[in-house]
Symmetry: C2
Subunit: 437 residues, 2 copies
């Protein structure tokens, strides 16, 4: 694709969608990319650069000359510059900021102050705002000039003299309104907005609920930015990835393009940590060696107790993690939720215990009713508790804001395993004298 | 909120966003809803009705009179009518279709023919299309009239005389173009489009990749509809829910608002099914009763083998399920993917085996090196195989298009448990004579 004919390349290349240009950039060698940098002007490359993943941005910016890099950054939207700079070491960040246009640097520094994963951090400051006394004609005329710069022109925000957000007009409403009407007559004055410190997950929830293409961000009532739907799609993906990690202990390693070695390196800490927890479980069984020696058949039901405890725990975990993500579980409903899970756990325990009381004597007649009773009763207590563990742990994590890794599925499963086996062997030991040996 | 003053209610109610109107409708009693139906005209209620969940739609439509219901349906967008009718029994569907406006009924019947979960099934037919020879002025004038009807006016699609899709203009580009320019001069002629039979997940992928707000749907090159971003947000949620179910066996029961009893009813089939599989595992251990009787300490490592097999399997499963969802795993990369997982499994097995060879003799000196050797070697084989099982099963499921429930995390975990314990006890039995008793 990259031959030595610049005009030819430019004609083909700029006929493509920026996303496809990115695909090309990612698929060629470094040598070919250096040729592309020569063919493409910095202001054109800025358009491509802002769509790249952060890792690629860091890689490619190191491949171009400093002047070119500065020009690229000067031509990017503020929010994309802030996202990029936030990932760089302090010294490179300072370097770029000092060489950027003064005004642009100010805006970017301002954006960099917002905490990660909040509306402030993902918003853009390039929006269209008008005064409520302007006419529709006037605004349409302004759109003609501001459209190329703004992130979206499909919502026009109305502010008063103190920059406070007072209304919104969709471009659709603007187009069907008479040209001489004043904005205050066509605008909606009940505007849903978020604050700069609103969590990005909450922003996503509001935008999904109301089918918004953009939502305004305010600070003390003043309009400071907007979050657009394409940013939110990325947030949704990011949060889903997080939730997935929570269920399966692959946090941060869902990447399918890395090598076997890197994958093993990323996954093995989890497996080894869980293996050490497994040694505790081994200790529990080892502690009941005498009981086990008396009734070997008890060992046969270890997997059944473990699996059932793990499965009910994971089910409750998945329900709560998803509920937190889509917003059906919040502060007000936590109590109801826990009561619900408590009831569910007891019922699951009862159902499984009864099933086992019927099945075990048939499958293991040598164990007799006593064995069935021990397994059944243990299962009842284990499932009741493990459902509560699965539901409670993510809630506690969420409340305390500690590293949610400890709430991941395998950890909860292991906790439930240990608890289940303790219950099982304790009951068996207590009833040892009644068991047929 | 609902008092007996109609004007008062209407004023307050219609000042709200439709989504908030839905919240009110869902929070009041049936009696109050019946009053609301009286206060709100069918064509106004249509706006609210189309935003309701399918379950609520079915409930509320039964609460209104037949005439009112027909009027509501006549005033809804075609795609929402089709979605609603698709859920009804054949007889009610026929009834509504026969009483609807002829033209509208035709469109809906057409939409109902598309297969579930394809672009055809989620698209809307209410889009704006123009001819390439029209002027910008002309199109802007048409938008004024068509805007209230169309699902989106932010993209205008350009078709030729055979209705073939030849280009697209964004409203943004239209606004900044001179009024006398022809559409063919401002339009983009490289349009990304999907086919009516394209899977909805693929549509979501394309829209996310290119940050589209809408994508055109074609049949034999002819423009037949568009899919908008709000439909895609719902698809993303739906698919995430599915993937979550796959990992945790809570398929279709992530609902947090149902009662304990309903939750237990929905979750217990999975738990019981898995419990029966657990009985197979019990059978495996029972089969090695003699070996176990000789060396009781072997029982202590049952949980460790099971947990490790389950965890590595679930990790591989999560990576592949997510990869399939976001499109990084496809037909061409499956071979590479499997080779990768094979390597990862072997490395994970090696790392864990070596760790255990060092730890076990320290923790269980009475077992000696032989015990550590058996556990270590078993773990190596178990992890190598369980990683492959976790990666392969979802791929096979995906290929054969059979019910993906059998690929869920707990099922894979149970398969891996059985396999791991078979390996463990087989090795132990073979080496029985060398073990200290």
């Amino acid at each position: 694709i990259v031959d030595n004919n610049m005009n030819n390349f430019r004609e083909l290349f700029f006929d493509l969608h920026p996303t496809d240009q990115i695909d090309i950039l990612n698929s060629v060698t470094k040598k070919q990319r250096v040729i592309i940098y020569k063919y493409v002007k910095p202001e054109e490359f800025a358009e491509i650069f802002q769509g790249l993943e952060l890792e690629k941005q860091k890689q490619y910016i190191a491949e171009v000359q400093q002047n070119y890099a500065i020009d690229v950054i000067n031509n990017m939207p503020y929010d994309d510059v802030a996202d990029f700079l936030a990932e760089l070491p302090e010294t490179s960040k300072e370097l770029y900021l000092s060489q950027m246009d003064k005004e642009e640097a100010q805006e970017v520094i301002h954006l960099l102050k917002y905490e990660d994963q909040t509306a402030g951090a993902i918003m853009t400051t390039e929006f269209v705002s008008v005064s409520s006394t302007e006419t529709v004609r006037n605004v349409m005329e302004r759109l003609r000039h501001e459209a190329p710069e703004a992130e979206t022109i499909y919502y026009i925000y109305v502010i008063d003299t103190q920059l406070k957000l007072v209304g919104v007009v969709s471009l659709r409403d603007l187009i069907i309104s008479p040209l001489d009407e004043k904005i205050e007559e066509v605008m909606l004055s009940r505007v849903k907005s978020v604050e700069t410190h609103t969590d990005q997950e909450e922003v996503a929830r509001i935008m999904k609920k109301y089918d918004f293409l953009a939502v305004p961000v305010t600070a003390q009532g003043m309009l400071v930015g907007i979050v657009t739907i394409d940013d939110i799609m990325d947030v949704v993906d990011e949060e889903t990835e997080e939730d997935f990690g929570e269920i399966s202990a692959v946090r941060g390693s869902l990447d399918t393009t890395i090598s076997s070695f890197s994958a093993a390196k990323k996954r093995s800490p989890w497996i080894i940590m869980l293996m050490f927890l497994g040694l505790i479980t081994a200790g529990v069984i080892g502690g009941f060696e005498d009981t086990l020696e008396e009734v070997i058949l008890l060992a046969a039901f270890i997997p059944l107790i473990m699996d059932s405890a793990g499965n009910t725990g994971t089910q409750a975990l998945a329900v709560v993690v998803r509920g937190l993500a889509i917003g059906t579980v919040d502060r007000s409903s936590i109590g109801k939720m826990l009561k619900r899970e408590f009831g569910t756990g007891i019922m699951l325990g009862l159902i499984c215990a009864i099933t086992l009381l019927i099945i075990v004597p048939v499958v293991y007649p040598e164990g007799g009713l006593w064995l069935a009773g021990i397994v059944g009763v243990s299962l009842f207590f284990t499932l009741s508790i493990s459902t509560m563990v699965g539901a409670t742990v993510p809630l506690i994590i969420n409340k305390l804001k500690i590293d949610p890794a400890v709430a991941s599925g395998p950890f909860i499963t292991t906790i439930n395993d240990i608890m289940g086996l303790l219950i099982y062997f304790s009951i068996a030991t207590a009833l040892l004298d009644y068991l047929p040996k």
